[in-house]
Symmetry: C2
Subunit: 247 residues, 2 copies
Amino acid sequence: KTITVAVINQKGGTGKTTTTINLGSALSKLGHKVLLLDLDPQSNLSYSLAASDPDNTLAEVFLGSKSIQDIIVEKDGLWIAPGSNELVDIEISLVQQPERELFLKKILAQVKGFDYILIDCPPSLSVLTLNALTAAQEVLIPLQMEVLTLQGLDQIMRTVQKVRKAFNPKLKIKGIVVVMFDVRRKLSQEVLEYLQENVKEKIFRSYIRLNVKLAEAPSFGKSVLDYEPASNGAKDYKALAEEFVES
Amino acid sequence: KTITVAVINQKGGTGKTTTTINLGSALSKLGHKVLLLDLDPQSNLSYSLAASDPDNTLAEVFLGSKSIQDIIVEKDGLWIAPGSNELVDIEISLVQQPERELFLKKILAQVKGFDYILIDCPPSLSVLTLNALTAAQEVLIPLQMEVLTLQGLDQIMRTVQKVRKAFNPKLKIKGIVVVMFDVRRKLSQEVLEYLQENVKEKIFRSYIRLNVKLAEAPSFGKSVLDYEPASNGAKDYKALAEEFVES
Ligand SMILES: Nc1ncnc2c1ncn2[C@@H]1O[C@H](COP(=O)(O)OP(=O)(O)OP(=O)(O)O)[C@@H](O)[C@H]1O
Ligand SMILES: Nc1ncnc2c1ncn2[C@@H]1O[C@H](COP(=O)(O)OP(=O)(O)OP(=O)(O)O)[C@@H](O)[C@H]1O
Ligand SMILES: [Mg+2]
Ligand SMILES: [Mg+2]
């Protein structure tokens, strides 16, 4: 049975793409078959894994001119459905359609044989993200320990609640994963303490430390586990994957 | 004559809100009358200046139930038009309207007496950002020195070009401002060198160093210039404001 996970946070730059790639890579190294979907018009995920292909992307699949099997590629043991900037136009055209939230769910119904499907979402709670939440069983929320990122948590919970009621009763929040954690910064510790005292959602024990190797890996087209397996970034995402599978 | 500036970058977390607030604050301390617009549904700018007011936001102005004069508030010498999460629904309803890009331009035609209007935009190039680009004369692009943030530059330029042709022939790119610059990180230096060699747009000489005071200030409802005037963050935004006015 495939588990589909939407990686969301409308706050920008909170490690959604980095987490989708590296958690995906770590899960595949534990022996699971993993598909990554790049649902963000920026298509950072596709670039970071050197999987961009302008004519074979999720945009063509939403338009119906290609099937999802046509566009899936394999890289370093990971399977990828690339995105493209045309998803901006897709989002605008989806808004006017009835059942606009159900398109991705119908597309993924044709995909078989994966243990995990991870969906990298854009920094917004608009129609593309609603498609991911409707198609998914679980939600993963990467969160930086910053004042402004706490502001958006309520909004995320309200949106998940809305999707659960309207389209997807089984949708559950798998948890929050703390990312880009700088152990030397007092502010990070303070925000983490505030989070632990005030938020009832599960926070994964494994957290991701700030590690420049994670920021370098995209320019080599690899996950950090393939680029620098001995780095803190690789170790942290490996530990997260082990905890993720057990929970 | 009012100069309206759209602060944009579809890449998330690249300092758009931090730059709008602190450049705005520094411009007002140089004696200019400055209005800040919070056009991002996350409304981080409104929160950061303790200016949130759920019933008096830009959402009501787009809906036509309030005028922009009704919602503008003053804080520490800065004028603010607050945002709200309802801008998500506004964006969805705007998509289906004729002249959907022109709403903000019409709203701002009623605003008089400011030297600068700075618009904080969401991390996307969708209809709200297109409204800002259509209403503005200048574009400011805050940019972190990261591999993934370079990916989006072409897309920003294409979008500005599209708006210039279709709606706003005078729109010009004022420049790129380097933000969150960590002088110790080799990757930052490498990305900056790549940028200087490959990008023809102007890059401001003044750059913003990584400084935790900038990340703390929002929890006190103040700009960094009012929160910690002697910090690197305050000095860097002051220098940027002086260069901005002269250019
Ligand atoms: N643990 C980490 N240590 C150091 N750098 C990191 C870490 N995680 C992410 N980064 C870097 O931080 C930046 C933001 O991360 P990323 O792009 O994954 O966030 P995002 O939430 O996907 O952004 P967006 O909102 O634009 O989609 C990237 O340049 C990335 O390389
Ligand atoms: N120079 C800096 N030094 C340290 N922290 C910074 C600096 N500039 C911004 N930050 C912090 O980095 C985070 C991202 O900045 P900010 O929210 O301004 O980016 P943004 O582009 O507006 O994000 P979004 O795409 O979500 O709108 C915030 O937590 C902010 O406090
Ligand atoms: Mg991303
Ligand atoms: Mg912002």
